[in-house]
Subunit: 252 residues, 2 copies
Amino acid sequence: MSHHKVISLETIRIACRNCSLSSLCLPMGLAPDDVERLDEIVKRTRPLHRGDFLFRDGDRFRSLYVVKTGSVKTFAPSPEGGEQVLGFHLPGEVIGLDAIDKDIHACSAKVLETSAICEVPFTRLEELTATIPSLQHQMYRLLSKEIGHDTDMLLLLGKKNAEERLAAFLLSLSKRLHKRGLSATDFYLSMSRHEIGNYLGLAVETVSRLFTRFQDDGLMNVDRKHIQLLDVDTLESLVGGAGQNRRQQQQS
Amino acid sequence: MSHHKVISLETIRIACRNCSLSSLCLPMGLAPDDVERLDEIVKRTRPLHRGDFLFRDGDRFRSLYVVKTGSVKTFAPSPEGGEQVLGFHLPGEVIGLDAIDKDIHACSAKVLETSAICEVPFTRLEELTATIPSLQHQMYRLLSKEIGHDTDMLLLLGKKNAEERLAAFLLSLSKRLHKRGLSATDFYLSMSRHEIGNYLGLAVETVSRLFTRFQDDGLMNVDRKHIQLLDVDTLESLVGGAGQNRRQQQQS
DNA sequence: ACCGTCGCTTGATCTGGATCAAGCGAAGAT
DNA sequence: ATCTTCGCTTGATCCAGATCAAGCGACGGT
């Protein structure tokens, strides 16, 4: 039996070189030999389930985590005891980059559905990047990409109304799923309305009403967690702030 | 006369090792020899003036920029033609990290007052970090710190009201100026009310009214651009969301 | 010294989205 | 199979902060 177990685990624990995410994940652009070296330091844990934590705010920072399958949300505590959802993470996305600076996690990461996660001990990764220039570059890009994403969110929270925010959220999900070989127009939400609202700086009720409105307007179908985008073009135009007579933005 | 000019420029172009910012800036934690190597790739331009650009969105990414003296704002265009102020940058702070990923600047950087800027060509920096582990680590920390800062802003824009936002802004400025050896309670704003509002996701009028209110409440003195913080403790408590009967936050 | 512009303030009004309230149906518990 | 809880929806009301409007005073330019 223990023999069987080893075999089945080996089946689950796909090496980086065979992982379908290698074009999105850390190995992106690496030579095969370098992928092997990276592969050696990656720990592949058993599948985690809804509600499990990868880490909690306040934990010592040791590793980066990469979603292999499933999805994860990260969220930071706010002083009053509430929390701010910082992101929803899909396969190939790296989690924990914000903790490198202080060596302590400032946010928590919670698994939204049964997920496989790769753990990359950071100290060992850092040693590796020092000897593999292309991996170092990939790390810089990864960190920079995260900043760029946060910047997009700042613009969204600072300048966009509820409709624009939800449309942007749906299209972002759609594009990211599509990159992973899934449908861009037909997918399931692994997060609750509440989590979406928190993420977008909106109340649950507003999110719910907008789903209803988008459906009434023929932009999408919503059935519980099941989403079908029917009119991506119009959704795109909503994001652009084509919200009718939006007055000229503050030019500072 | 040209002789005089050369001398005066040399006076301005302080080497990293003599720069008072070395404890905040890239050289932080480097061995003296390594600081010299870094110093060799840094370009020190002549002082820039209010309104000058370090780069504009769409520009090819070539260098990081570090504020030596003065201040800089970064801002991203929003689809509708407006803009979102992303940050105000003080001496020692590094600008341009978000452009590493796409190799194109997605935001612009504009000088708010006469400022000295160091330019660090990124390709050369990358070569250097590959051979100086402590510099590589410093780069990771720098990028990570930027993510952490953006995260703080997401929480601010997503969960805090106008009062909390302005208090947080003032205290952030205060702390950062203090770290640079300046007064934590008495300083000048190099940015306009409009820029503050844009940054904080508020209308100019709201910013103006809050300044007036904070002054009436004895928390600070405001005279044009001149700020004096009188009651830092109360300002701190405002940020914490002690805004009276704030209801329990959404727990997603 | 004068003028025009621009940044800032203050007051009045409006509104998008939060909050409050009430039900409904699905999924998990016993 | 039934209960209970929880997530979601929908309606009614409220309010923080945006928008509109009007002046004022500082500063740069001539």
